[in-house]
């Protein structure tokens, strides 16, 4: 029983961290229509940033500044934001699939940089030796995980409330206006490129927050954590949950991650012994089918976007 609770705490922590990243992507794609194919780069920037700023000194690479945790986490978010600013200025003139390809390239470049720049981030071996905050006071066990989960949930709630307010604000309406018809928005005197850049940076900072929490939780980050598969997983979560709906984004993250882990667990438990060795492949097929089925029969996601003209006209 304790084991089950302990596992659920662990599972919820990861799912909540991924939810934050999905919320960031939802601001990009769901609300602003920016096809970000490089989620993992901003996620990774947050994770690497946090671990470099907050880690203990390691020979051979940058880092080990041992800053207080919240400063390190914020630093990771700022690094993700700066990267988004640089990438945004270069690529945001691109539309749709072109933007997707450009950002995907950025993500691959980021992974390769981390893999090769041994002096910057430890190279392929990654960054270790991060002391999880308050670990000496709380120990390593169940209590720590519960408290960390609460911390993550508070940040998830804060991100959710922030985004809900943001999209209901005039700025949020402007995002949707630009998403739906850029020329019309421009003719009303809005500056689409500025607004898009702001949204891009904001969403990326949120992804950086998720990355920072992820790195903290594992006390380790390596290039293997920032492979394109993570971008794919986060996109799958948003598509299944429903693009444009923050509740959907969170639900999607929990559902897909649950499906991902539960299918592995179920196969290892119930599949016959000689099939056991193929459970990995079967799992990929199962998850792929869920996503394809979703796109075929409910492309708007489980929780579709609620379109409202203004707050006053919101359905009561």
């Amino acid at each position: 029983m304790i084991g089950l609770i302990s596992y659920l705490v662990f599972f919820t922590t990861i799912a909540a961290i991924l939810s934050i990243a999905v919320l960031g992507l939802n601001l990009h794609w769901g609300n602003t229509g920016l096809f970000n194919g490089g989620v993992v780069a901003f996620f990774g920037a947050g994770a690497y940033g946090t671990l470099i700023l907050g880690g203990t000194p390691q020979s051979g690479h940058l880092g080990g500044y041992e800053l207080p945790y919240l400063i390190a986490l914020t630093g990771g978010m700022v690094i993700a934001g700066f990267m988004a600013w640089a990438v945004g200025i270069l690529t945001l003139r691109l539309r749709h699939d072109y933007l997707a390809i450009a950002t995907f390239g950025v993500a691959v470049a980021f992974e390769n940089l981390m893999r090769n720049a041994t002096g910057l981030a430890g190279g392929a071996t990654g960054i270790r030796g991060f002391e999880r905050p308050l670990r000496s006071a709380l120990g390593d066990g169940f209590t720590y995980n519960v408290l960390f989960l609460i911390f993550v949930l508070i940040l998830l709630a804060a991100t959710y409330l922030f985004l809900e307010r943001l999209i209901r604000s005039p700025f949020g309406r402007m995002l949707r206006a630009i998403r739906e018809d850029e020329v019309a928005a421009q003719s009303l005197g809005k500056s689409p490129s500025r607004v898009r850049l702001t949204a891009f940076i904001t969403g990326s900072v949120i992804m950086g927050l998720a990355g920072g929490l992820y790195g903290t939780f594992y006390a380790f980050i390596s290039p293997q954590d920032v492979l394109p598969i993570l971008t794919f997983q986060i996109w799958a979560m948003l598509i299944v949950g429903g693009a444009g709906n923050n509740k959907g984004a969170i639900m999607g993250a929990f559902l897909i991650w649950a499906a991902w882990t539960a299918s592995g667990w179920a196969l290892s438990r119930f599949a016959p012994l000689d099939v056991q060795l193929y459970t990995g492949s079967i799992q990929f097929v199962l998850i792929g089918s869920v996503i394809v089925g979703m796109l075929l029969w409910r492309p708007q996601g489980l929780f579709p976007e609620k379109l409202v003209v203004s707050q006053a006209a919101r359905p009561k």
Binding site: Y7, F10, G129, I229, G264, F284
Partner: protein, 421 residues
């Protein structure tokens, strides 16, 4: 308050432990679960998992461990750290395993170690993670003595590679390494060893996976006219690299790490270019038990153990099971980890790595003795950081297949490594 709760919990655990002991002693049909997190969705990961399962089957044949049959619960890592860590956590929390075999990639093993097994006090035994980061973590005391691996650190192979270059009389060498944790480690270690021996390293070039051509990398390595080339890369990339290397007039004096020990590589490059190639490897030592493993494996899987990490996976599983036997029923991960020295004791009674050896080891351990496990990778002996050293071989290709050229015993390897330090 917390103290009281803990006392209560402890009392309950003891009561439960006692109860389960009573029932198993009567029934003899209990099962103990062990966890395995291995990349079964990758082609080379499947045989590693199958070998671990095979070792478990042999132990069960010999009457199980600590009076119980062993069930290995296998989970796939998909070579994704998130998935691997989740699988490990599920095994520890839901299945209550006290030992975990895995993972293969260091990038997966490391987060499992830092966020699952060390906090939970579970023994983690990796067959195949080679990163030097684990040694660093152990030296900082952050593994809690819970991490062991049967894969010799890259230091052994790098040292033997340098030894080969010295014996062949090469004065300058270019290094090509796979651009991952294994390759970066071995590439930088071998460069240090070359320098210690006074051999010039003309260049050190990273080889990324899956490129259609490696002309740029090969051209870079050719500059400085090295007398020989050292390669720590995988067959797929190795084939293209060596083809381009030779077509651009590079030397045929090659030293390669074990990853290129594949018939595919020989056939695709062509035997006529590989006459001067010398490979290094850590497996297949001169013990009867190693030969016995090859025979056993061949009989069980209709083919010799030619993939990477198979002998290591076998030994990792066997040593874990022996340590569980030594620790007895209801042992925690830390208890089991503490017994590993007892089953890999150089002074202990030698036991072979099969069902008969396992049964013999059980008797000796029951009598309070210690055993020396003579495994598929030789007489495994862990150092204080849970790392193994290993005897080494050099090998080459011939028309018949892969042939061994020389054998370097554990003592020679250790002495050589000490001399280049």
């Amino acid at each position: 308050m917390i103290n009281k709760l803990m006392q209560l919990g402890l009392a309950a655990a003891i009561a439960l432990g006692g109860a389960s002991f009573a029932t198993t002693a009567a029934a003899q049909d209990c099962t103990t679960k062990i966890g395995a997190v291995l990349p079964t969705s990758v082609d080379w990961g499947k045989p590693i998992a199958a070998t671990a399962q095979y070792a478990v089957d042999l132990a069960n044949e010999a009457g199980g461990v600590a009076g119980c049959q062993v069930e290995m619960v296998l989970r796939d890592t998909q070579v994704d750290p998130k998935v691997g860590v989740d699988a490990a956590k599920a095994l520890v929390d839901l299945d209550g395993v006290q030992v975990l075999l895995g993972a293969v990639s260091s990038g997966v093993s490391m987060p499992i170690l830092t966020s699952v097994t060390v906090p939970a006090g579970v023994l983690q035994m990796s067959c195949c993670s080679s990163s030097t980061a684990f040694t660093g973590l152990a030296e900082e005391g952050k593994t809690g003595g819970l991490f062991y691996r049967t894969f010799a650190t890259s230091g052994v192979q790098a040292a033997v590679g340098a030894m080969v270059a010295r014996d062949q009389g090469y004065n300058s060498v270019a290094i090509l390494y796979k651009n991952d944790d294994w390759g970066q480690d071995i590439g930088s270690l071998v460069a240090k060893d070359f320098e210690a021996l006074g051999i010039e390293v003309t260049s050190s070039v990273a080889i990324n996976d899956g490129q259609p051509s490696y002309r740029a990398e090969v051209t870079e390595a050719l500059q400085g006219n090295p007398e020989a080339i050292y390669m720590a890369i995988y067959p797929k990339e190795g084939i293209s690299v060596v083809r381009e290397w030779i077509s651009l007039g590079g030397t045929q004096n090659m030293i390669v790490a074990n990853a290129l020990k594949s018939d595919e590589f020989r056939d695709n490059v062509g035997m006529q270019y590989l006459g001067n190639m010398i490979g290094t490897d850590t497996a297949s030592p001169r013990t009867d038990s190693a030969a016995a493993f090859v025979d056993q494996y061949t009989a069980r899987f209709d083919g010799p153990p030619n993939g990477p990490g198979l002998a290591n996976s076998y030994d990792a599983t066997m040593i874990t099971l022996l340590a569980m036997e030594a620790a007895g029923e209801g042992a925690t991960g830390a208890d089991i980890a503490a017994k590993i020295a007892m089953v890999t004791d150089p002074e202990g009674t030698p036991v072979s790595a099969d069902a008969a050896g396992f049964a013999a080891a059980k008797e000796i351990l029951a009598g309070g003795g210690t055993v020396q496990y003579q495994g598929a990778t030789g007489n495994v002996r862990f150092d204080a950081n849970g790392d193994v050293s290993a005897p080494a071989v050099t090998w080459g290709f011939s028309d018949a297949g892969i042939e061994e050229l020389s054998y370097i015993s554990l003592e020679d390897v250790d002495a050589f490594m000490a001399s280049v330090k």
